[in-house]
């Protein structure tokens, strides 16, 4: 095994956020001209690590050596100057410009201060050709497909004199043909001696393209392996290998009758395909799967946020029609969304206003006027019940911490008498202590006979709190696992479409 020089070497990198240790003594080394996979579950610390490399975050301690010299990456500008180029999942392109203009944005060829358009197009053509890609560089960006736009984004990023190219799940929006194009680009980069860091959830892609892989788990470095010398099973066990901790309060609830039944739910965009499941009163039903597997989309369909193309929903055996969130609320369904700030809360409004938002009719006097005394006492009751930390119910929710904000969202649905509560990533961005409180609330709701549906990408969490887990893969239900058969490897296998 010949050693190629290292372009990038990270040693003992640490990073903490308030309440969370995101990275603990992480090592990472990258050789010139290699394609290196970075893998780990959601929340393992991959993006934190990449954000340190891009200059978005500053490491607390540890060293970064670039091309043999120790460096302090203090800003995104500095990172770019070093030659680190990052391709994010979201596109940063301008729709109303041509492909060529997008690629060379901010560095157009100029003569006497005037842009040389012909030169620009010629340069762009040559650039795409050098990667063996057929692209109409004069096409408006909005006229080409999203997958092609992704290719443009990648070409743009690598054209900026990059020595290290980081790709953060670039294949999630690509078709298999474009994925092939992407792999070709990666190999061309490799041949030019450029190093590629490839973040992906799709293990098959690692075997298809990568030389080495580094595994992170819970912010810790697990190891680096040659891809040729590892099996898929070993990979999975390195990703998840750990015991369940006692983070999850025990629950002893006898399950009741089937309350919710969903049959053949599909949407128009093909992100949810023929999804059927049912849930009983007192049950906590978990939804596992990779990001983009269609779990959130399924919940949005169930709650009436997006139009269905097919499917029936039964509550207590009776078919119900849910075409709008209002219908869902009438049928006593509540939805704690994944993005509480964007979809769940009115940040500038107070705790009390947020608490009663869904069920304002419950605090009306003469069926017309809001009763502020009642509003306050209701809000205070939920603050007390959920142990929400807030100076008063008049506090705007934007000043609360993530965990307390989540409790306000929960209060909103509890006050509206939800019987079926959907929680999408309920503990994202919440510190450990508050997480446990959320789990306790979930248990209490289950004990009250409610149906709880939890979507979570954290394997440990979903196994810790669910009675049963439905695993989704690419819009379909890939498998269903009962509590006695919970195992991380089984669920992961379903999630990657392996089983």
């Amino acid at each position: 095994m010949q050693e190629t020089p290292e372009i990038l070497k990270l040693t003992n990198v640490n990073k903490s956020f308030p309440g969370v240790k995101a990275l603990t003594d992480v090592h990472f080394s990258l050789r010139k001209g290699e394609i290196h996979a970075l893998v780990g579950e959601n929340g393992a610390g991959k993006s934190t690590l990449m954000k340190i490399l891009s200059g978005a975050y500053k490491k607390d301690s540890g060293t970064i050596a670039f091309d043999g010299h120790e460096v302090e990456i203090t800003s995104p500008k500095f990172s770019e100057k070093l030659g680190i180029s990052i391709i994010y999942q979201e596109l940063n392109l301008i729709n109303r410009m041509t492909v060529a203009e997008n690629v060379f944005l901010g560095r157009y060829p100029k003569k006497n201060g005037l842009i040389q358009w012909r030169q620009l197009n010629k340069d762009a053509e040559a650039l795409f050709e050098s990667f063996g890609i057929d692209m109409d560089v004069k096409a408006m960006l909005r006229s080409i497909s999203i997958a092609q736009q992704q290719i443009v984004e990648i070409i743009k990023a690598v054209s900026i004199n990059a020595k290290v190219v980081i790709m953060d799940e670039p294949t999630s929006s690509l078709t298999s043909r474009e994925t092939e194009v992407l792999f070709r680009i990666m190999r061309t980069l490799k041949d030019r001696g450029i190093a590629v860091i490839f973040i992906t959830h799709r293990l098959d892609e690692i075997f298809a393209t990568c030389d080495r892989m580094t595994i992170l788990r819970d912010g810790c470095y697990v190891g680096t392996r040659e891809v040729s010398g590892i099996t898929k099973d070993e990979m999975i066990s390195m990703m998840i290998g750990r015991e369940l901790t006692q983070q999850y309060p025990a629950r002893d609830v006898a399950l009741g009758d089937t309350v919710l039944e969903v049959k053949n739910l599909s949407d128009h965009s093909g992100r949810v395909k023929n999804v059927s499941f049912s849930a009983r009163s007192g049950e906590v039903l978990g939804f596992a799967g990779l990001v983009g597997a269609g779990r959130t989309e399924t919940m949005r369909l169930l709650f009436g946020c997006d139009p269905k193309s097919s499917g029936e929903i039964f509550i207590d055996g009776k078919a119900v029609s849910i075409a709008h969130p209002r219908d869902a609320i009438t049928n006593r369904i509540g939805f704690v969304t994944e993005n509480r700030k964007e979809e769940g809360l009115f940040l500038r409004s107070s705790v009390r206003t947020n608490t009663v938002m869904v069920a304002m009719e419950k605090i009306l006097r003469f069926k017309l006027f809001l009763d502020f005394n009642k509003e306050r006492s209701v809000a205070e009751e939920y603050v007390h019940m959920l142990k929400t930390a807030t100076p008063s119910v008049n506090q705007p929710v934007m000043f609360l911490s993530g965990g307390n904000q989540q409790k306000v969202v929960l209060a909103k649905w509890l006050f509206s008498d939800s019987r079926i509560v959907i929680l999408d990533e309920p503990t994202r961005g919440i510190d450990v202590g508050a997480k446990r409180e959320i789990y306790e609330i979930i248990n209490k709701l289950a004990a009250d006979g409610k149906v709880i549906i939890v979507v979570s990408s954290e394997m440990e969490e979903i196994m810790g709190i669910s009675d049963r887990i439905v695993v989704m893969h690419e819009g379909r239900i890939a498998g269903e696992v009962d509590k006695e058969h919970f195992s991380q490897s089984l669920i992961t296998e379903y999630a990657v479409g392996g089983a």
Binding site: L347, L368, F369
Partner: protein
């Protein structure tokens, strides 16, 4: 510590006062500089009378702005209503009150249509209402042949020129009644809550089961209703339906909304904004400032008022996050 608390408390009080503070400052300054002409009962009653029309439009505009939209057509809608009412009374011999009722109804329908254009056709409110504004302007010129409509009966004129108990101008009474209704609607009803919710976070409002579309259309309906009513009062004040009278009204009303800082969620802030606007006008007049320079001063005041609002928001944010 005690001193610090005192400062922070007084800062909070000041920040909650909004445009009322501006009003107090102007009154203080003018009482010193022009005590003889400013501090007379006639002058102090004159100010609300002068701003009554604008503030009634601003009341409707507050709902639109709180709901996260904007309506540039309210000025023309108000002129249209004034001319319509005048036309119906003088040319068609309609009963004054019936004519006013029809004119206000038409105004409300225009507002509703603007709301539907913005909500269902998904045209940005700025450009959608701009289009509506020109359509109405055209209609006004067609129906009036761009000539003033004179000869309004006494009971019509009373709405603009009359006094209650010989002291309180009728437009001020109308304004006061409407503001009470508007304030109650905003603060004490689910509709008012919905307006604020939709303005703050449309997606969250939808997911909370609020009827976002209906709310959005209704705020424009209210905007049209208030504009039309203001237009009737304006026609009564001017003793005629004036086709050219509304060019600037929509923008003046918006200025009142922003100077008032309605975002605190109180309709009285809009009233304060309109009064402050009127006081500045009045003071500049009394100080003998030339009309052209008055425009410059008023424009500067809009900018400074909004700047002040942003600064206040920052102060209250840093205070609460410190606590």
């Amino acid at each position: 510590m005690g001193k610090k608390q005192l400062i922070s408390k007084s800062l909070t009080t000041i920040s909650n006062m909004g445009a009322w503070l501006l009003i107090i400052v102007i009154i203080l300054i003018m009482s010193i500089v022009r005590p003889d002409t400013f501090l007379t009962a006639a002058n102090l009653i004159n100010v609300p009378r002068q701003v009554a029309v604008v503030s009634i439009i601003a009341l409707g505009a507050s709902f639109v702005v709180l709901g996260g939209e904007i309506d540039l057509s309210t000025g023309m809608a108000s002129t249209f209503a004034g001319c319509n009412a005048a036309l119906m009374v003088t040319r068609m011999g309609m009963n004054t009150y019936a004519a006013i009722l029809v004119a206000v109804l038409v105004g409300s329908i225009i507002g509703t249509l603007t709301g539907c254009i913005v909500t269902y056709l998904k045209i940005p409110a700025f450009i959608g209402s701009l289009g509506v504004q020109y359509v109405i302007q055209g209609l006004i010129l067609i129906t009036t042949n761009s000539m003033p409509i004179n000869g309004l009966p006494e009971n019509f004129l009373f709405l603009g020129r009359g006094y209650l108990a010989d002291v309180i101008p009728v437009p001020v009474v109308i304004m006061a009644i409407l503001f009470v209704i508007g304030a109650v609607l905003l603060r004490y009803t689910t509709f008012g809550r919905s307006v604020i919710a939709v303005g703050e976070n449309q997606e969250a409002a939808k997911l909370s089961g609020l009827n976002v579309n209906r709310t959005k259309v209704l705020i424009f309906t209210i905007g049209g209703f208030c504009a039309a009513l203001a237009g009737v009062v304006q026609a009564a004040r001017l003793s005629s339906g004036q086709p050219g009278s509304g060019a600037d009204l929509a923008l003046q009303a918006l200025a009142a909304v922003y100077i008032g800082g309605t975002f605190k969620g109180s309709m009285l802030n809009t009233l304060a904004g309109a009064l402050a606007w009127g006081l500045v006008n009045n003071s500049l007049n009394l100080l003998g400032v030339n009309a052209h320079w008055q425009k410059v001063a008023l424009g500067a005041i809009i900018i400074v008022a909004v700047l002040f609002d942003i600064a206040r928001a920052k102060i209250s944010t840093s205070q609460s996050s410190n606590s």
